[in-house]
Amino acid sequence: MDELLRRCEEIIRDVNFTTVRRWKAEHPDGKAIAYFPVYAPVEVIAAAEMLPVGLHGAGDQLELQHADARFGSFICSIVKTTLELGLTGHLAPFDGLLFSSICDSARNLCFVLKRNFPQLYVDFLHLPHNVASASSREFLRSEYARLKAALERLAERRIEDEQLREMIVRYNENRRLIRRLYEWRAEEPHRIRAWELYVLVRAGNFLPVEEHTALLRQAQEGFARRQAKPRDSIRVLVESAFCEQPPLGLIRLLEEAGCYIVEEDFTLGRRWFSEDIPASGDPLWALAESYLERSVVSSVRHDGRRPRSRALIEKVRARRAQAVIFLIAKFCEPAYFDYVLFKRELEREGIPHLLLEFEEKMYTFERLQTEVETFVEALFFE
């Protein structure tokens, strides 16, 4: 088990993308497409016999030398480290980059990369923000069809519906396993640590889906065999780190300071759907319809039918969390905006919360540690 987790940790830290290079060596005609968080229809990429790779910045692995000047102050770190990866040649294993409409910084990053890397296929998906409209299904299907056609040109092969359905089946299985692990973790948070689940799930960003599924099964067995005793901890839900990822050290710190993390939104894209995507009928339609009807709630997906602040309360209740910790990446505007209405709703419901700000490249956490400890203590003595 330790060995497995160590491997996952290595994979997610590796800005040389060794797993991607290895896959490409094994698939000489294969192409790798990196997608920027939060969500991408990976099934379409995989059906083109390409490797979809979830790119979440460079963490603390790169010193910014060029990208800072290109993006200036007041812009989040992940945007800069992603450009830095490009400007320092680290994106060499990739043939394409895919973005979607999550925020204004990410949107501009897409086009800055396009200018600087004209040899790459760089595309931008418009994921609908009006999911209540009857017309958004048709629109999103056409958007996926456009992506499919672009990938077909890049791969120089057709993508058959059968292949798409097959990929839906494989990713459904993968997501189902992840969902199960999440439920299990909420039941027995002493058995599955938050940082462990995090590295396990995030490693999937860099592996073919079948390989990741096998890895999850192995981990499942490992967790089942484990002897674990409950700790003295409070149950917290962590919210807002859906794009730029907190350092592993910070996740560990939360646990060591007395938190059972029973829910979070890290690497949300890997478990984007609350139930399986239908694997029959028109696959693009199934993908589009699922984005509109079966997506998890996220600060970057707007659904006029149900306020996200209500959804947060429901999530807190479902996981029996005692408090919410907002982990917001510095300069992450969507997270900061949502915080205002989240806070209002939590206060109405009398649910305690704490706001922490982080940067992916942070490595000392003293101040945060004191804040978390004080917060946890106050809850213990309530």
Binding site: S73, D104, S105, C110, H126, H129, N130, S133, H302
Partner: protein, 416 residues
């Protein structure tokens, strides 16, 4: 006083007052009904077809800033939970609401619908979600696919048109009013005429000297453009504005007694220091001959017009492709490049605005493109459009001075 202050200035004030008076009336009597809308790439023609008055929170926010009244609402909003790094337009607007103040002291009506025309700026959605939550008003997000290739696809247009029809239906249900197709066409016709006139005004700046400043003076013209685009008052205003500026151009009059520099300005202005900022350029007799900010409401100088023969389709096209915010970042590079070349500019001023990632994220790359690829002299300065705390006057002045000194030397070198 450097800028031109003739009839245009007076009339724009009256038109803005007229709009606020309508809002005040709506707040007091409930008539006409009011709907919240965003400035960029909007569908105000649909509201005009119902006789509905638009509320523009952005205009309110900028009015607060230009009157030096934005800091208190911003602080109020921050106390409420907004971050220092959230767009200060939103904070000023929401803060003013929380404090119960308005830019003019009049009343603002409660909207019957909060209609978010999402055209690229993500903050638009968050902002209007908050407005709807605070005012307990219904929200409709009209989702406009971002322009990710040169032209919108038929699917993009169909999606927007379908939503426009949904909006019409929603408004009918909420207000009990009937959508009037003739009034709609009339509103679209007004927009078409305003766009033609505005575009001709913009082209006047291609002459040397330019009869007006396409950044600082353009902002005076943008008020009526925003609140009266689809109305006969708008057409009348721009007709007279064009006539006046044409006459000025015919007399060979520029913004200053002499036009020493021609620049293109990218990014919104620092409204809390509008005068101070303007004077920094006036000292050098530098005229902005074009600006990207003046195309937030619509980009018409390259030919697009609304068309009363195809009202829904052209409203959709306007939202999709002919406003700055819904266009891609590289299309903006290209827009500025065309300005430099066709409006004969000596350099580009990039104003990085802290609040607005839509404008600012990546402007260092933009500078890289203009200086390294095109060899255009470029100045990069930072402040904010709404928050007075981010304007470092002395520092900005030094940079502006240094830029024009260098430009002057450069010009002399070429002349010799």
């Amino acid at each position: 006083m450097t800028e031109y202050r003739g009839w245009i200035h007076q009339r724009q004030k009256e038109l803005m007052q007229q709009w606020y008076a309508r809002l005040d009336e709506s707040a007091r009597t409930g008539w006409p009904p009011a709907v919240c809308l965003m400035i960029s790439g909007n569908c105000v023609e649909v509201l005009e077809a119902f006789g509905i008055v638009p509320i523009y929170p952005e205009v309110n926010a900028l009015q607060l800033a230009i009157r030096h009244q934005s800091l208190e609402p911003i602080l109020t909003a921050e106390e409420f939970g907004y971050a220092t790094d959230n767009c200060a337009y939103v904070k000023a607007d929401i803060g003013a609401y929380l404090m119960g103040v308005t830019p003019t002291g009049g009343k603002l009506p409660r909207p019957v619908l909060v209609l978010c025309n999402f055209v690229g700026c993500n903050t638009y959605i968050k902002w209007f979600e908050h407005v709807a939550a605070f005012l307990e008003a219904p929200l409709y997000v009209l989702d406009v696919p971002f322009l990710r290739s040169e032209e919108p696809s038929p699917a993009d247009v169909a999606y927007v048109v379908a939503q426009l029809h949904e909006v019409v239906q929603r408004i009918e249900e909420i207000t009990g009013l009937r959508f009037d197709m003739d009034r709609f066409r009339e509103a679209v016709r007004c927009s078409q005429q305003v766009e033609e006139l505005w575009s001709r005004i913009k082209h006047l700046a291609q002459r040397a000297p330019s009869p007006f400043d396409a950044y600082f003076d353009a902002i005076t013209l943008m008020g009526p453009l925003y609140v009266h685009r689809a109305r006969p008052e708008g057409v009348e205003f721009f007709r007279l504005a064009l006539a006046e500026l044409e006459a000025k151009a015919a007399r060979g009059e520029g913004v200053y007694d002499r036009e020493d520099f021609r620049v293109v300005i990218e990014g919104p202005p620092p409204y809390p220091y509008f005068r101070v900022f303007r004077d920094m350029f006036a000292r050098w007799r530098a005229t902005a001959v074009a600006s990207t900010y003046s195309t937030v409401g619509g980009l018409w100088e390259f030919g697009f017009r609304h068309d009363p023969e195809k009202p829904f389709e052209t409203v959709a096209l306007h939202m999709l492709a002919h406003n700055l915010t819904n266009r891609s970042y590289l299309q903006r590079y290209d827009q500025i490049r065309r300005y430099v070349q066709q409006w004969h500019a000596d350099g580009v001023i990039i104003h990085f605005v802290k609040s607005c990632r839509l404008f600012s994220a990546g402007q260092g790359d933009m500078r890289d493109y203009f200086t390294k690829v095109l060899g255009v002299p470029t100045l990069y300065i930072e402040s904010d459009l709404e928050d007075p705390r981010y304007f470092a006057e002395a520092q900005i002045r030094n940079r502006v001075d240094a830029f024009f000194e260098a430009l002057e030397r450069h010009k002399h070198a070429i002349a010799m």
